[in-house]
Symmetry: C2
C-alpha cells in the first residue's frame, strides 16, 4: 500500500535533473520534514509555511496520504472558520536499521521513522578485531532483528552505520581508525551492501552524534550547531545550515585538534598542544596517574597504570577531591579550546556529549561560564550551550537520521 518509495526511487538518475521532478521532490520532502519536526499540521499551515497555494499543498498532502506516509490525525482549532484537518507522519510507514560500531561493542537497532526502537541487539566486538568479523557480526545482528520483527525488507529504508575513525562518507570507506589497527582501508559500505542487499550509509561516529541531536535531540531548533564529544579523546561534529558538514573531501569536525598550548606536548595527530592532548579523558587519566605516582594518595583508584575513565568517573561520584579538581580544570581547558570554534563558526548551539561530559555534569556549566566570560557578550548571548539529550543512544539515532535523509531532505548531487 505504501508507494512512496517507488514513487521516488523509480526516478533514478533522472531525479537530479533540474526539472519538475526536482520541484516535486523538493516540496514533498519539505512537507514531510515540516510535519516530522513540528508534529501534525494542517494543509493551510503548510501552505503558509511553504509559500505554496492551498490547492498545491492539498494535492501534495493527498498524494502523501494515499501513499501511506501521512495520515489524518484529528482536527485543529478553528479560528473563525471550518476546522482544519491535521496530518501527521505515519512513523511506521518505513523503518531503518541503525548500527553503532565501537571498538568493543556493536549495537544494532531497528527503528521506525520517529526513532522508536522496534528491536535491538548488542554484540560483543569480535575477538580478532578484523573488518571481516565485524561485517559478519553486523550481518548477523541485522538478520536477527529482521527475522524477529517480521518487518518486510521493502519497508526498510536502509542501514546507517556509525563508525569510529575517519570515514570517507562518499565511498563509505573507513580509513585507519586509530583504535582498530587491523582496519586499514575498509570499504564498509560496499561490504555491508553485499551482505545485506540494502542501501548502506557509513559516517564517522561524532558526525552522527551531531546529526542525531540535530534531528531528534537537543539540537532540533538549531541551524548551525557544533557537537563536542568528550570521552577518551575529543571529537566533534558540525551541522551547518541544517545539514552535516563534512569538509573536503571529508574529515571535518575534528575540533579536538586545534592548538591551545603553543608549547604543549605532541599529540598523535601530529600537532603540539592540541585540545585533545591537554584536556581529553586520557589527559585526565594521565594527570591523575602522575599525581598518584607523585604520592597523592586516593582510595578511589587502583594502581596508576590500571586507571581507566570509568575509575575516574566513579571517583568523581564518590566525591574524590583530586578527581574533582582535575575534571574542573579540564573543563576549563575544553572551554578555552571551544572559544576558537565559537568565534569561527558562531553556531547557535554547542552540544556537549560523550562519556566524560555525561559523567561529569558540571562540565556544561563550566564551559558555559568560561564562554560567557570570554566571548563578546552580544554574540555569546545568542549561543545556547547544552548537554546532549540522547546520551548513549546518539550514535544509533544519528545513524537512523542519516538514512532518513533519503525521505526528509532534498539531496542534490
Amino acid at each position: 500500500m505504501i508507494t512512496y518509495l517507488t514513487l521516488f526511487k523509480k526516478e533514478g538518475v533522472r531525479l537530479i535533473k533540474g526539472n519538475q521532478r526536482l520541484l516535486k521532490k523538493m516540496n514533498r520532502t519539505q512537507v514531510l520534514d515540516l510535519i516530522r519536526r513540528e508534529g501534525p499540521l494542517s494543509k493551510a499551515q503548510l501552505a503558509e509555511r511553504m509559500k505554496l497555494t492551498f490547492a498545491g499543498v492539498s494535492k501534495i498532502v493527498n498524494d502523501l496520504e494515499s501513499s501511506g506516509i501521512l495520515f489524518l490525525r484529528g482536527e485543529g482549532r478553528s479560528s473563525g472558520g471550518r476546522k482544519p484537518a491535521l496530518y501527521a507522519l505515519n512513523a511506521t510507514a518505513f523503518y531503518v536499521v541503525a548500527v553503532d560500531l565501537s571498538v568493543d561493542e556493536i549495537h544494532v537497532a531497528l527503528m521506525d521513522l520517529s526513532t522508536v526502537t522496534v528491536d535491538e541487539t548488542c554484540l560483543a566486538a569480535p575477538g580478532d578485531r578484523t573488518p571481516r568479523s565485524y561485517v559478519e557480526a553486523v550481518r548477523l545482528g541485522v538478520q536477527t532483528l529482521l527475522e524477529r520483527s517480521g518487518i518486510p525488507r521493502k519497508k526498510i529504508l536502509g542501514v546507517g552505520v556509525s563508525s569510529p575513525g575517519p570515514v570517507n562518507s562518499v565511498t563509505g570507506e573507513v580509513l585507519y581508525p586509530p583504535n582498530l589497527p587491523l582496519w586499514n582501508v575498509v570499504p564498509l559500505k560496499e561490504r555491508l551492501e553485499q551482505e545485506l542487499r540494502m542501501p548502506v550509509k557509513v559516517e564517522k561516529d561524532a558526525n552522527l552524534h551531531a546529526l542525531g541531536e540535530k534531528w531528534f535531540g537537543a539540537g532540533r531548533g538549531a541551524d548551525n550547531l557544533v557537537y563536542v564529544l568528550v570521552g577518551e579523546g575529543i571529537g566533534g561534529g558540525i551541522v551547518i545550515e541544517g545539514s552535516l558538514y563534512r569538509g573536503t573531501p571529508f574529515g571535518a569536525g575534528e575540533i579536538g585538534h586545534g592548538t591551545v598550548d603553543l608549547h604543549g606536548p605532541r599529540c598523535n595527530c601530529g600537532n603540539y598542544g592540541c585540545l585533545e592532548v591537554m584536556a581529553s579523558g586520557l589527559a585526565v587519566i594521565r594527570r591523575i596517574r602522575e599525581k598518584i605516582r607523585a604520592g597523592h594518595a586516593s582510595p578511589h583508584y587502583p594502581a596508576p597504570e590500571k586507571i581507566q575513565l570509568s575509575n575516574v568517573l566513579k571517583a568523581f561520584q564518590c566525591g574524590d577531591d583530586l578527581t574533582i579538581r582535575e575534571l574542573e580544570e579540564t573543563s576549563r581547558v575544553i572551554a578555552a579550546g571551544l572559544i576558537g570554534v565559537v568565534n569561527s563558526l558562531r553556531p547557535d548551539m554547542l552540544i556537549l556529549g560523550g562519556k566524560l561530559s555525561r559523567g561529569f555534569p558540571l562540565m556544561t556549566d563550566i564551559v558555559k561560564g568560561v564562554i560567557r566570560e570570554r566571548v563578546v557578550p552580544a554574540l555569546s548571548e545568542q549561543l545556547q550551550i547544552v548537554k546532549g539529550e540522547l546520551r548513549d543512544k546518539s550514535g544509533l539515532v544519528g545513524a537512523a537520521a542519516l538514512v532518513m535523509e533519503e525521505i526528509f531532505t532534498l539531496q542534490l548531487k
Copy 2:
C-alpha cells in the same frame, strides 16, 4: 534592450514560492554562473553539466541571449559533427558599485560583471569620523562615478559595501566597530539606500575578501575555503559549499580569537591567549618595541612608541634581522593557530591575505610547512595553502561579488 532584471525582479515575493518560477530562476542562474566561471560554453556542454535536455537549455540560453546578458561568441571545435555555437557572458550588461570602507579611506569603484573597473575614486575618511560623514562621502563618491561614467542607473545592479567591525548582514547594520568609536549601531544599508536609491548590501570586510577571492581570485576552484586576513589584527572569512558562511545570526569567521596559549595575555575580545593577541601585526609591533626598549638596537625603526606596521614591513625589506626573526616566529604561531581551523573545517583551500601576509611573503611557506608537518598527511595533502590574488582589491571585488549574487546564485529565504 536588456530585460533580464525586469524578467526576475518582477516576480517579487512570489519568486520564493516552491514553484516553477523557482525552477526557472535556478536554471537561469546556473547557466549564467557556469558561463561566468568557465568562460564561453555551448548549449550541449551546458546541457551535459546541468543534467537538462539540450532543448531545455536551448530555450534558456536563447532567452538569456535575447535579454542581452549572454552573447554568441564564436564557435567551438567539432568532435565529429556540427560545430557548437559558444555563448559568453556580456559583462557590460550590468554594473555594480563596490565600496570599501576602512578607518582612514573610502574606496568606491564602478565595475562590470567581470570586475573590470570602469572608474574608481578614493576619498580620505572624514575627519570627524561620524557615520553621517562617511555616508555623505560614499554618496558623493558614487554620484561622481555615476556621472563621470554616464552609465544609466538601470544598468546598476546595486551597491556592495565592505565595512570593518561586526556587521549584521541581514539588517545591514554595523555594530560597534572597534576602530570607529563613534559608530555604535549604524544602519548603514538603510542610510545608504535612502541616499542612493539603489539596493545596498553591507558585509564585514574579511567576509568580502573571502568572497572576492572565491569568485574572482585564488579561490575560484574551492568549495570550502577559509580566508585569513593578517594585518594589524587577524580576521577571517569562511566560504562553505560555495557561499559565504555567516553563522547565527552573523559574526562567523573570527578565526583570530581562538585560544592558542592557555596562559596568554588578555585580548580585547575578552579571551586570553588568542591568536590575535599572540601573532597579529600589533603583536609583532609590541614585541619589536619591547626588544628595542630592552636595548636591541635597529637602524630601521623610529622611537618605539612610533613604530607602525609599515615600519616593520620596511625593516623586513631592508633585511633587518630582528624583524625577520619576529615575522618568522609570528608566522609559525599563526600556522599553529590555523591547525585548529583546518582540522575543524577541513577546507580545500586556505588563502592568506592582509597587509602583513603581503608584506612578508614567506608567511605562506612557513604556514604551509607547519601545517604539512602537523596535520594528518592524508588530509593535509588535499589542502591548498595560497596567497590571496586580489591584493588590495579584494575588498572591492568581494563587495562587487556580493551584489552579483543577485544574478549568479539562487538566493532562497
